[in-house]
């Protein structure tokens, strides 16, 4: 008599495990991949010598208010900035912008230093509240 074919429990578990691992991999990679399609993204256009230029891109889904923090080596002196910084703690090297009434597009944040950075690299941080969920979103930017 021909034996009926059935799915063995071990076979089902293997497929389930593989599907779960694949989903986990997608989820872990999603923040990086999603950032390109996120409502707010950022990149360094220039991060050397005495000028630092950070580009913030926003889509129509972006919030109206974004906080951008520029981290510099402690004690760094800033000659000028565009737009004007809301705050700068020189000792900590923390410069902050509060960008309001954001429209879709690209915003350029520029800092001119009194002296070039010697080997040190700046880093940035972007924070906003997701318009849909209200969740606080924070991501770092590196040159």
């Amino acid at each position: 008599m021909k034996r009926a074919r059935t799915n063995s429990p071990g076979g089902i578990h293997n497929w389930t495990l593989a599907a779960g691992l694949l989903a986990l991999a997608v989820i872990l990679l999603l923040p990086h991949a999603g950032r390109a399609g996120a409502p707010v993204s950022a990149r360094y256009v220039k991060a050397g010598d005495a000028e630092i230029v950070l580009e913030i891109s926003t889509t129509s889904r972006a919030p109206s208010t974004i906080i951008v923090t520029q981290h510099l080596p402690g004690g760094t002196e800033i000659s000028e900035s565009a737009p004007r910084l809301n705050s700068y703690r020189r000792e900590q090297g923390e410069a902050k912008w509060l960008l309001t009434d954001m429209m879709p597009g690209v915003n350029t944040l520029r800092i001119t230093l009194a002296a070039p950075l010697k080997g040190a690299k700046p880093s940035g941080e972007v924070r906003y509240r997701d318009p849909g969920t209200g969740a606080m979103i924070t991501f770092r930017v590196s040159p």
Binding site: P63, S64, T65, I67, K96, T100, R127, R129, M136
Partner: protein
């Protein structure tokens, strides 16, 4: 004639030609039921005779069969050599033999005609079930269109700070989701606690009752989401720890005047803290200032102290001057 009777072996039996029987019956337009009734057997027996499942039958029955078919007996017998041996039907059982004597139960389909088949019971029940399901879906759709309460799509909620300092202004924001992009006429009433005084509102209030503290907006919205806000000043006589209570309601004209209470926070505590300092830690951090901007972004033209908030946020901290009843920013 293929007839044989052997002493002691039962009634005489004959061999009939089933094909001849069927042919003669059909030529006369007779049904098996008619023949069975006339002969006195069941239609199954007639069918077996015609299909040669009974090599021999009782002569008595054969004579009746021939009479019914209006032919001599010889015309329906098998034309074969030799005597026919009496033998019972090879597959005949007691039940089948008993059935041969039973009256016919049902009329067989007349030859040459398409019988109308009644649908099976399962199919009938299935059709009834499907019809009920369709009726239920249609009924639910009609209920949704004509009888459903439109208020189910309408939401109104209040956004209120957790605390406010004596003598300091704070915002009261009321958001409406009308669920209707078309013109919606409404009346919003918001009652401020007696310790508070309204100093600004957007859109401007239609009426104000200084006795009850009720603010009234009579408004026609042309969007699904509408935002009302007012800046209220906490009285200087309010004491730290005191709870101030708010209440409000919205009346929509389209809902025959149904009154919907304003949901959301309805209490605020008097404390020497800035209203934007949500967690009361003596500073306005990134999340708190973003929350302020998000909540008040829909309100245009309302002076909610934006500059002071940004200054406190930039400075990183603030202090309360109880004597002068104001915030100090280092």
């Amino acid at each position: 004639m293929n007839t044989e009777r052997t002493a002691g072996m039962g009634p005489p039996m004959v061999k009939i030609d089933g094909d001849r029987v069927r042919s003669r019956r059909e030529s006369l337009g007779l049904t098996q039921l008619y023949v069975a009734t006339t002969v006195g057997v069941t239609t199954d027996t007639i069918s077996r005779w015609e299909n040669r499942r009974y090599p021999t039958i009782k002569q008595e029955n054969a004579l009746k069969l021939a009479e019914t078919l209006e032919v001599p007996l010889a015309d329906i017998l098998e034309q074969e050599q030799g005597p026919a041996r009496e033998e019972p039907a090879p597959t005949a059982t007691l039940a089948e033999k008993a059935a041969e004597a039973e009256p016919p139960l049902r009329e067989e389909n007349p030859p040459g005609k398409e019988a109308l088949r009644r649908p099976s019971a399962a199919l009938r029940y299935g059709l009834v079930g499907l019809g009920l399901l369709v009726a239920m879906v249609a009924g639910a759709a009609l209920w949704n269109v004509f009888l459903e309460d439109p208020q189910l799509d309408f939401r109104v909620s209040r956004i209120l700070p957790r605390h406010a300092a004596p003598g300091q202004p704070f915002p009261v924001v009321i958001r409406l989701d009308t669920g209707d992009p078309g013109p919606v006429s409404l009346i919003l009433k918001e009652v401020l606690p007696g310790e508070c005084t309204p100093i600004d509102a957007e859109p401007p209030v239609t009426a104000r009752d200084s006795g009850t503290g009720e603010l009234k907006w009579i408004f026609q919205s042309r969007a699904e989401n509408v935002c009302f806000a007012c800046m209220a000043k906490c009285g200087t006589e309010a004491t730290t720890g005191q709870t101030l209570r708010f209440r409000g309601s919205v009346t929509l004209r389209r809902d025959h005047g149904t009154v919907v209470p304003v949901g959301g926070p309805a209490e605020l505590e008097v404390a020497p803290l800035h209203w934007a300092d949500g967690n009361g830690d003596g500073r306005i951090d990134d999340e708190e200032i973003l929350t302020v901007y998000d909540n008040l972004a829909p309100v245009h033209g309302l002076n909610y102290g934006k500059e002071e908030i940004e200054e406190i946020w930039s400075a990183g901290r603030y202090e309360w001057d109880a004597k002068r009843r104001k915030f100090l920013i280092p």
